[in-house]
């Protein structure tokens, strides 16, 4: 998907405070249509909080959010989702009491009805090779399988922007490679923001990387520049060292 000048999502001065703790402060962020951006940073840097602010699972303490130029700061979580923003959180956030197919159908129903929803489910099952577990309840699946089901749910809902929070957590090397491939495929027609710690994975999928540190944007550079920036190594490891 080619990138255009109009950002699909922008934030201006987004901040989130939990009591006296400033988890995010003064975040100005732009993502172009069709762009795939990675967010990196040490634990507690504010990446996941930023995601939750974008989807309004957290109400930002300050600032505004714009979706394709429209101010969406006052919308609720379900209204943000209806704009076509999908999120996959660190811990698979699925419906344990429902089967894989029911989970997918639920995701499909967010943006389509009837036969179109059925087709979207069938396509996701085939694309993610879930045929063997389609009738299983989610609480009977392994962590990796639950991750795949959640990814499949996002694909099924056909969003225009996907937020992925550590999509490869707990996956095997083979699954990580498959996920990188899948993300490239999704990016053909969908914008993505991906939070990830694995720099090899980041380098494999992203051109541009935003670095979070202590609730602020620390740097915004290409993946290659980030890899060789000694300051980034310093904030990750507490000393001057290149990111491996």
């Amino acid at each position: 998907m080619s990138e255009t000048a109009t950002p699909i999502i922008s934030t201006r001065n987004i901040g989130k405070h939990f009591g006296g703790v400033k988890a995010l402060e003064g975040i100005d962020f732009d993502l172009a249509e069709g762009e795939l951006r990675c967010l990196i940073g040490p634990n507690g840097a504010g990446k996941s909080t930023f995601f939750r602010c974008l989807t309004k699972q957290y109400k930002p303490s300050t600032g505004e959010i714009f979706f394709r130029g429209r101010n969406v700061s006052r919308l609720k979580t379900h209204e943000i989702a209806r704009l076509g923003i999908g999120i996959k959180t660190q811990v698979p956030n699925v419906f344990d009491g429902l089967t894989v197919y029911e989970n997918l159908h639920l995701a499909a129903n967010a943006r389509m009805y009837g036969a179109a929803a059925d087709e979207a489910c069938d396509a996701a099952i085939e694309r993610m090779a879930l045929q063997r577990i389609v009738d299983e309840r989610l609480d009977r699946l392994s962590h990796g399988q639950r991750q795949w089901v959640e990814l499949a749910m996002i694909i099924t809902s056909r969003p225009v922007l996907i937020l992925l929070d550590e999509p490869t957590a707990g996956m095997t090397g083979e699954e990580v490679a498959k996920t990188a491939e899948l993300i490239h495929e999704i990016n053909r027609d969908t914008s993505l923001i991906v939070v990830e710690h694995d720099m090899n994975f980041v380098r494999a999928i992203a051109r541009k990387v935003t670095v979070f540190h202590q609730g602020r944007i620390f740097a915004e550079e290409s993946a290659e520049e980030i890899m060789h920036d000694p300051k980034i190594g310093e904030i990750y490891l507490g000393k001057r060292k290149k990111v491996q």
Binding site: A81, G86, L98, L106
Partner: protein, 285 residues
């Protein structure tokens, strides 16, 4: 024997009818609704009032009562329950207060007297023994109601969204569903079904402001013993306890029937702490 079978089926159906609304509100939403008996009572008063004012009995029973009690359910959810989700003890106290309020209000309006609707449909006779044919209507309504609820929960988009919301309310909003609306609709549906149950049972029980107290204990026993699979669990618990109750009643007295039901429930929870649902398929609803 045939009469006894009809009586057993009638007891099972009555137990299922008084429990199914609670199964939706308590089983699905985890709202400890102590005003459940009063929702049944409001259903009974709806049909009694509408019928005595010239409305056709079946319209009063199957249309007016569920709609009226459903609207009461919406008001209760919006004004009280909505502010107490996740606080089970507070919900219990609040709904107990609502039950006292509704009982007091109805007593003030209608007086503390038993009113009655003559039982329609006449009698049937087997082997020289006559019994009310209305029992067949109660059994039929229960079967249709349970079939309808199963279809809605398992086969419709609305049912899938309701089950998902009860399972993980935070995640459904990420999928574009407004959980508040789902909660209100689910509570209203549970209330409407309770209203329908109260209306259907009104011709055989009599209508009095305190009639809810007679239902609430049995309904909670049935739903709790049913377990997590609210639909299958409630259905099986109704069959089990209804049979125990009626068989004991036939061989002894109605009082012993009630005692047998209670003992059966205690034994069941001792043997199956998670209720009957632990024995059924994990895909049952």
């Amino acid at each position: 024997m045939a009469i006894a079978l009809v009586q057993i089926l009638n007891t099972i159906a009555s137990l299922a009818l008084i429990s199914v609304g609670l199964a939706i509100i308590f089983g699905m939403m985890k709202v400890m609704n102590f005003a459940h008996g009063e929702l049944l009572m409001l259903g009974a008063y709806s049909v009694q009032t509408a019928y005595s004012n010239g409305v056709n009995l079946w319209i009063a029973m199957f249309v007016i009562a569920p709609i009226f009690v459903g609207i009461v359910g919406i008001l209760i959810e919006l004004l009280v329950i909505r502010h107490l989700y996740g606080r089970m003890m507070d919900t219990l106290l609040a709904t107990w207060g609502i039950s006292l309020f509704i009982t007091g209000l109805i007593t003030m309006i209608f007086g503390n007297v038993t009113q009655g609707i003559s039982t329609p449909l006449g009698f049937y006779e087997i082997g020289g023994i006559r019994d009310s044919a209305y029992k067949f209507l109660i059994i039929g309504v229960t079967v249709v109601l349970f079939a309808g609820i199963w279809i809605v929960l398992k086969k419709t988009r609305m049912g899938l969204i309701a089950r998902a919301t009860m399972n993980n309310p935070g995640q459904v909003s990420v999928l574009g569903v407004n959980p508040r609306v789902v909660y209100t609709v689910t509570f209203a549906a549970g209330a409407a079904i309770s209203g329908l149950a109260g209306a259907v049972l009104a011709p055989v029980t009599g209508v009095v402001p305190t009639m809810g107290a007679a239902y609430i204990g049995k309904a909670f026993i049935t739903v709790i013993c049913g377990g997590d699979a609210i639909f299958a669990g409630t259905a099986i618990a109704s069959v089990l306890f209804g049979s125990i109750n009626q068989v004991t009643t036939i061989v002894s007295t109605a009082e012993f029937g009630e005692v047998a039901l209670l003992i059966g429930a205690l034994l069941m929870l001792r043997v199956l702490p998670k209720g009957i649902s632990s024995l059924v398929s994990n895909r049952a609803v």
